[in-house]
């Protein structure tokens, strides 16, 4: 006869989750994040990359975002439902920013004029 404990595990879908990484992985990710931040500040000071600065900074920032969310917040290892819930909020937030930018004619990309 299945107990309450067994039922809880039946619904856990453990194959969708993986063990969290250890201190070594966290430290490596931390070093990568620090290097990307240094790169951001470096590119900010370089006149030669001024033309592609905005997309470059956006890509670097998005990389940092994904690393923190994926490794430090464990979305890469946890149940996909957490990714879905957070991703929905993120998508709405991105839509709000994009809509307001266009609505007020202030899209931050330089080529828009």
């Amino acid at each position: 006869m299945a107990t309450e404990h067994d039922l809880a595990h039946d619904h856990a879908e453990p194959e969708l989750e993986h063990a969290h990484p250890g201190a070594k992985t966290y430290t490596i990710v931390g070093v990568i994040l620090a290097v990307i931040t240094l790169a951001e500040v470096f590119f900010y000071t370089q006149e030669s990359v001024r033309a592609i600065l905005v997309p470059l900074l956006l890509v670097l920032s998005a990389t940092k975002f994904v690393l923190v969310v994926g490794f430090y917040m464990h979305l890469r290892f946890d149940h996909p439902l957490f990714t879905g819930v957070f991703g929905f909020g993120l998508m709405v937030a991105g839509s709000i920013i994009t809509a307001l930018m266009f609505l007020f004619g202030q899209y931050p990309l330089p080529h828009r004029g």
Binding site: A23, Q106, P108
Partner: protein
């Protein structure tokens, strides 16, 4: 499941021998998803906070260059100084996740050290933000000076408030640990606090790029 922390006593179904106490299985209550509702709730809160900060960031981007008079962003920001603040907050995310790894291994003393370090780095960030705000104020940029000032202080002020709440939360976890109320089986509490703290960090990642680094 890597984290099952809620101390609920569940009947394992087996009758224990008369002389032996029944085993206590620590498990979270049964849910339709099989996931801990508190962790799911935190993710739902963070999703809603995404929308909150998304609106504030959009408002800043719309208003930053619509002020008829200065000070304006380019003549106000000190990017090298803010870069140090960004480093401090990134470092605090690392110490936070090391605290979680420590309690998941059952190393409570080490967890307290990392949690305290995270709170300290959060305080350093807040101190830096206070100094930055004070400097801006002396340069003539106030909340009511122009649209740039209003949207900038509202955005970064709300982020700073989030950091302050996070520091308070972390210190309360340290206090609970010192009182012997936070053990390996309660690692979910640290994980949820960590989710909040890392969210504060990723919001700053976006603010640092969109507000400070991207030119006018």
């Amino acid at each position: 499941m890597a984290h099952t922390a809620i101390p609920v006593i569940v009947d394992t179904g087996a009758a224990p021998p008369a002389a032996v106490a029944a085993p206590l299985v620590l498990e979270h209550p049964h849910t339709s998803t099989g996931l801990d509702s508190r962790k799911l709730l935190m993710w739902a809160f963070l999703a809603s906070d995404c929308m909150f900060f998304g609106t504030l960031i959009a408002t800043y981007l719309v208003y930053k260059n619509r002020s008829p008079e200065g000070p304006l962003p380019r003549e106000t920001f000190d990017v090298p100084y803010t870069s140090v603040s960004a480093f401090v907050l990134l470092l605090s995310s690392l110490t936070m996740v090391l605290a979680l790894a420590a309690i998941q291994r059952g190393e409570e003393r080490r967890m307290r050290v990392w949690l305290s370090a995270t709170a300290l780095l959060g305080c350093v960030f807040l101190g830096g933000q206070f100094y930055e705000f004070t400097t801006f104020y002396h340069e003539g940029l106030t909340l009511s000076r122009n649209l740039f000032g209003s949207s900038f202080f509202t955005l970064t002020g709300f982020h700073g408030t989030h950091v302050f709440i996070g520091v308070f939360w972390l210190l309360s976890l340290v206090a609970h640990s010192f009182r012997g109320r936070l053990h390996q089986e309660h690692s979910l509490f640290v994980e949820i606090a960590g989710l909040y703290w890392h969210f504060v960090d990723i919001v700053w990642i976006l603010i640092f790029t969109l507000v400070y680094l991207i030119p006018d």
